[in-house]
């Protein structure tokens, strides 16, 4: 039997249940899991095949707990892939699954490609090709359903942008390669400064693209949403109202890295991750800590801000301070407590607001459907900055873009410190190969085309 590297993937569909499974297959899967797993009864290495173990996944260095888990250990060959398989049942919802995943990757597991488990099952003789194909169809069908909105909007834009980045890198590389392969033919060598300048521009765009891994994150973690407003403005009522309506609460994790509470709610199929919502469930003295500073931090991390005002009270300094600190392009203004002024003008001065607010009553659920429409309009309608441009939706793509960016970084560094052109070229080849992992294009022929188009070669 061939030995394949150990790989892992989140194997439950996102947002469909509180318990998610992270699955790992390959010769090192038990050892990798062991390095993260804190169980009651010792190591998984000694565990018998097909046994279930209760414990926690922890950061290996800090010891910080990430999630409470049940781990199944299944040893080769009586497994789906005929390799050692570990399944980590996470209780912490999508966010915890993501963190467990990153820890496994950090410990040396590779990222499984879609259908990889099935492919191995086939390669290792566990299932026949017809079975493999039907599983593959289901895998891809599910993915398509999940990604339909994002993909139809964005896929074209992404490949165009990657294509254009690739083209620009090719242009730079062609100028270097022409100097290397045809230096005896009156071809000028590269201008280090100009080349560095071009690469800086390209790296900036690549960086933007990586940062746009927003939809990918939306699908995995949700739109980062902050509900802000002064104490008692009705933040927790709004949350509860949204939750009751959708019954989509997935999880509640007592924050382990920050003392926050993270919630996932579902608005028309768009998952919202509420960040830094401390104060939603104020417990006694904690109310005191909720100040403007705190909101500021939440706002800066958020993709979407719901900014609440109390319609039954006149505005105060806190409200004014808040208004100056929210980014209006990704903020929805909400006047709450409509039940207290019922059809009359709110006592809160609407003229103060730079945009049309949504008037709601979290208590009576009045106006909630308008609010939901505003949210989905803002997220899908392209008003949020990252949704406008091309976007990265696959973790694998993001990784490849990061590889490409770091190769570009080494090329730029090399140009600065006077590294040989052939080594700078080597890095640029690396940057292109990484992009080729997304677009599947071949470098050499395209490169030669560019050289012969742009340089007069030939003795």
């Amino acid at each position: 039997m061939q030995e394949f590297p150990t790989v892992a993937a989140i194997s439950t569909s996102l947002g469909t249940g509180a318990i998610g499974i992270v699955r790992m297959t390959g010769p090192d899967s038990i050892a990798i899991c062991d390095r993260l797993f804190r169980g009651r009864r010792g190591n998984l290495a000694e565990a018998a095949s097909h046994t279930l173990h209760y414990g926690a996944i922890a950061e290996p260095e800090s010891g910080e707990l990430v999630d409470e888990v049940l781990v199944s250990v299944m040893r080769a060959p009586a497994t789906y892939t005929r390799e050692d398989v570990v399944e980590i049942n996470c209780h912490g919802g999508p966010v915890a699954q993501q963190r467990v995943m990153s820890l496994l990757l950090a410990q040396g597991a590779g990222l499984a490609t879609p259908g990889e488990f099935t492919r191995r099952a086939f390669l290792n003789g566990r299932i026949d090709l017809v079975q493999a194909e039907s599983v593959a169809q289901i895998v891809s069908a599910k993915t398509e359903a999940g990604l339909r909105v994002a993909m139809s909007q964005l896929a074209g834009g992404l490949s165009r942008e990657i294509g254009s980045l690739r083209d620009d890198i090719l242009g730079v590389l062609a100028s270097i390669e022409a100097g290397l392969d045809f230096s005896d033919e009156d071809i000028e060598g590269m201008d280090r400064q100009a080349t560095g300048g071009s690469l800086t521009g390209i790296a900036g765009r690549l960086q933007e693209l990586i940062e746009s891994a927003f939809v990918g994150r939306v699908l995995c973690e949700g739109v980062r949403t902050a509900i802000v407003g002064k104490p008692n403005v009705g933040k927790s009522s709004l949350l509860n109202a949204l939750l009751m309506r959708d019954r989509a609460i997935v999880t509640e994790i007592p924050g382990t890295t920050r003392d926050t509470i993270e919630e996932i709610i579902n608005i028309d199929g768009i998952p919202l991750q509420l960040i830094d919502t401390a104060g939603l469930r104020p417990a006694g003295n904690e109310v005191e800590r909720i100040g403007v500073e705190r909101s500021r931090r939440a706002i800066s991390e958020a993709d979407l801000v719901l900014c609440l005002f109390d319609g039954s009270e006149p505005e105060d300094d806190h409200d004014r301070a808040l208004l100056t600190s929210v980014p209006m392009d990704r903020t929805i203004l909400v006047i709450n407590k409509a039940d207290l002024f019922r059809g009359r003008q709110p006592r809160f001065n609407r003229g103060l607001l730079p945009a049309e607010p949504v008037v709601i009553s979290a208590m009576t659920r009045h106006g909630l459907s308008q609010l939901r429409e505003r949210i989905s309009g803002l997220v899908l309608g392209g008003a949020l900055p990252p949704l406008e441009g091309p976007m990265v939706t696959h973790e694998r793509h993001k990784q490849l873009l990061e590889q490409s960016l770091s190769a570009l970084g080494r090329a730029r560094q090399g140009l600065r410190v006077g590294l040989g052109e052939e080594l700078v070229a080597e890095e640029l080849h690396g940057a292109l190969t990484a992009l080729g992992g997304i677009t599947g294009d071949e470098v050499v022929e395209d490169l030669l085309d560019r050289i012969f188009q742009e340089f007069c070669i030939g003795k």
């Binding site: 061939q2 390669l123 045809f182 230096s183 052109e421 080594l423 050499v444 030669l448 030939g458």
Partner: protein
């Protein structure tokens, strides 16, 4: 019609058709590996002829010549014998892209190669013209000559250059020829096509020659060659001296306007040349047309030899009518009074579409028929010789019942060359560039022998005496590297002054010499000077340079090796011969057709076929696994 002497019905192990650069290497390799070999040439006077430029090597090509030398071929040695000027190119760039180029005395090159051929055991040379191949049950059995006689053979290597259906074009004149003054092979391409081989058509062009007494050298830049010329071959003896200078001049606006005025007579416009030409060697007409913004193009004026007055005008390729060629030359500085000796001309010819070959250079359709050189759609003496060598080796191995000898892309430029040809085919005459090699930092001029001589020895081509020289070099390198790693350099004021002058940070404490050498700006002589001792053992300048490269490139070399390892599984997964692709479900129609045509030897090769996606390769690997399991049951 030629009259060939009888070969007494001997069955030769290997018959090589063509005595050019590919054919010579083929014949020598096969004979040296112990096969009874026949070299069939159209003319005994034209063996190892250099019909185009009087130079061997160049960037990318020079590496090929070094690899030929490392494996036990002749081109490097013969170039050294005939060399009249040597130049190391890309010295201001990194060592991975450095390469030698030699100006040679063309006549001397031919003569000395012929002398070697004539002195080689097992090798018989015969003048005659092949008219066809004899095939029986999809296997070659011999060659038929144009006088009707037959030469039976176990294997045949066709290395007939541009002779297949060759036509020469100069201006409005167009006539059948293989090279200037030589008749083409007209019957052979018909015979190949009848045997089922698909042919394509390419064109190539050569440069005008002028009389050396008629140039004005004062108006040109003199290029005397390197002060300390290196040798191509590791095995050459004696010191090389540059004997003849080259000159450089540039076309100017006057030259360009002459060309523009007569562009309507250029084959580009008249369409008198068919077949696709190389983009890297455009005619001066095309350069002027495609790059109107360039106010000059270089013209390299190169001597054809010591005992002839011909100068070769590299950069002025053209097949404009002769009288226009003269106008163009006379408009160029230094050439105002130049007398033309032979005009430039274009040649068009048939080639065999090379994706019909295996990596061994054997045709897939006809067993034991090998093709090498320009017949496979390449250009250049070095590309031809490299293929000739591999075809010769593999013909010999086929006779001996051994597995084909195939070099990987990560092992040699020769591997890149052949893999490109048979996997991707060609859409212009193929020339080597360093940018074609994905592992360029590993495939260097300086380490060709370390890479390939063990293999050359192993297949019985490189003699033990030469291999011992390579082993000695490797030991010397090892010792030197060890010494550099274990020797500490002290931060003396002199050293720090030197470092500062080079823009390098001064040392504050002692450091291993090897560590200090990793700095791009520091070279080994800086260190030796500082320590005041010479390097240990037998380390000559070449070994010292190599140690520097190994240290400076170490990180990159490791990375390339890792990349190679990652691909290893694809490269090592063999696809059984005769595997059929046409009914593979889940593989795109286009990919199936391409796979069926190319018949890749490994999954790695399959993944490089254009039109075959990574997904196709995954599915293919599934089928291979299934088949493998079924066979095991």
């Amino acid at each position: 019609m030629t009259i060939a002497p009888s070969t007494d019905g001997d069955i030769f192990d290997v018959v090589v058709v063509g005595g050019g650069h590919a054919g010579c290497e083929s014949a020598l390799a096969a004979a040296r590996m112990g096969c009874s070999t026949l070299l069939l040439t159209l003319s005994l006077e034209k063996i190892a002829l250099m019909p185009c430029n009087p130079a061997v090597g160049g960037i990318g090509k020079g590496q090929l010549t070094r690899e030929i030398d490392a494996l036990g071929g002749e081109q490097g040695l013969n170039t050294d014998r005939a060399c009249i000027q040597m130049k190391l190119l890309n010295t201001s760039r990194g060592p991975a892209v450095r390469a030698l180029r030699a100006q040679t005395d063309k006549k001397l090159y031919e003569d000395s190669m012929k002398r070697v051929l004539c002195a080689t055991e097992n090798l018989r040379i015969l003048e005659g013209s092949a008219a066809g191949i004899i095939v029986s049950r999809e296997t070659i059995t011999g060659v038929e000559l144009d006088d009707g006689s037959r030469i039976p053979a176990k294997t045949v290597i066709l290395a007939c250059g541009t002779f297949l259906g060759g036509k020469i074009v100069v201006g409005e004149r167009r006539f059948p020829a293989g090279r200037m003054g030589e008749p083409p092979a007209t019957a052979l391409p018909v015979s190949l096509a009848e045997s089922g081989l698909e042919l394509g058509r390419f064109q190539s062009a050569t440069h005008p020659r002028i009389d050396s007494r008629t140039i004005d050298a004062d108006r040109m830049v003199i290029d005397p060659g390197d002060e300390h010329p290196s040798r191509f071959s590791r095995f050459s003896q004696g010191v090389l001296r540059n004997q003849v200078p080259c000159f450089l001049t540039y076309t100017n606006e006057r030259t360009h306007s002459v060309i523009r005025e007569h562009l309507h007579l250029s084959p580009i416009k008249t369409g008198s040349v068919s077949g696709k030409g190389p983009r890297y060697c455009p005619s001066i007409d095309r350069k002027v047309m495609n790059f109107p913004d360039r106010d000059r193009h270089p013209v390299f004026v190169e001597p054809e030899g010591r005992h002839t007055g011909e100068l070769y005008l590299q950069g002025l390729t053209t097949s404009l009518p002769v009288w226009v060629q003269e106008l163009v030359i006379h408009a160029t500085p230094g050439l105002e009074k130049a007398k033309l000796m032979r005009p430039g001309y274009a040649v068009e010819y048939d080639y065999v579409i090379p994706d019909q070959l295996r990596l061994s250079l054997e045709t897939k359709r006809i067993a034991n028929l090998f093709l090498a050189g320009q017949i496979n759609g390449t250009s250049g003496y070095e590309e031809a010789a490299a293929q000739g060598l591999i075809a010769g080796i593999n013909a010999a191995r086929s006779v001996m019942g051994r597995e084909p000898f195939v070099l990987g892309r990560e092992q040699a430029y020769i591997g890149v060359l052949i893999d490109d040809l048979v996997t991707k085919g060609v859409d212009e005459p193929y020339r080597m560039f360093t940018s074609r090699a994905e592992h360029r930092l590993l495939l260097r001029h300086d380490n060709a022998h370390a890479r390939l001589s063990p293999l050359g020895r192993n297949i019985g081509l490189l003699p033990q005496s030469r291999y011992a020289m390579v082993q000695e070099d490797e030991r010397a390198l090892e010792d030197l590297l060890q010494w550099l790693k274990s020797t500490t350099v002290s931060p003396t004021p002199e050293l720090n002054k030197l470092l500062e002058k080079k823009g390098s940070a001064p040392l504050t404490e002692g450091q291993a010499a090897a560590q200090l050498l990793k700095r791009p700006e520091v070279c080994i002589n800086d260190i030796l000077k500082n320590i005041g001792v010479s390097a240990p053992g037998n380390a000559g300048p070449d070994i010292m340079a190599r140690s520097e490269i190994e240290l400076k490139y170490a990180g990159y070399i490791d990375r390339q090796r890792q990349a190679i390892e990652r691909n290893r599984r694809l490269e090592d997964t063999r696809i059984p011969p005769g595997f059929t692709y046409l009914d593979l479900e889940g593989v795109s129609r286009e990919a199936r057709d391409r796979l069926e045509r190319i018949q890749p030897a490994t999954l790695g090769q399959a993944s490089r076929i254009s039109g075959v996606t990574p997904a196709d390769v995954s599915v293919l690997s599934l089928y291979l696994k299934e088949r493998h399991d079924a066979m095991a049951d």
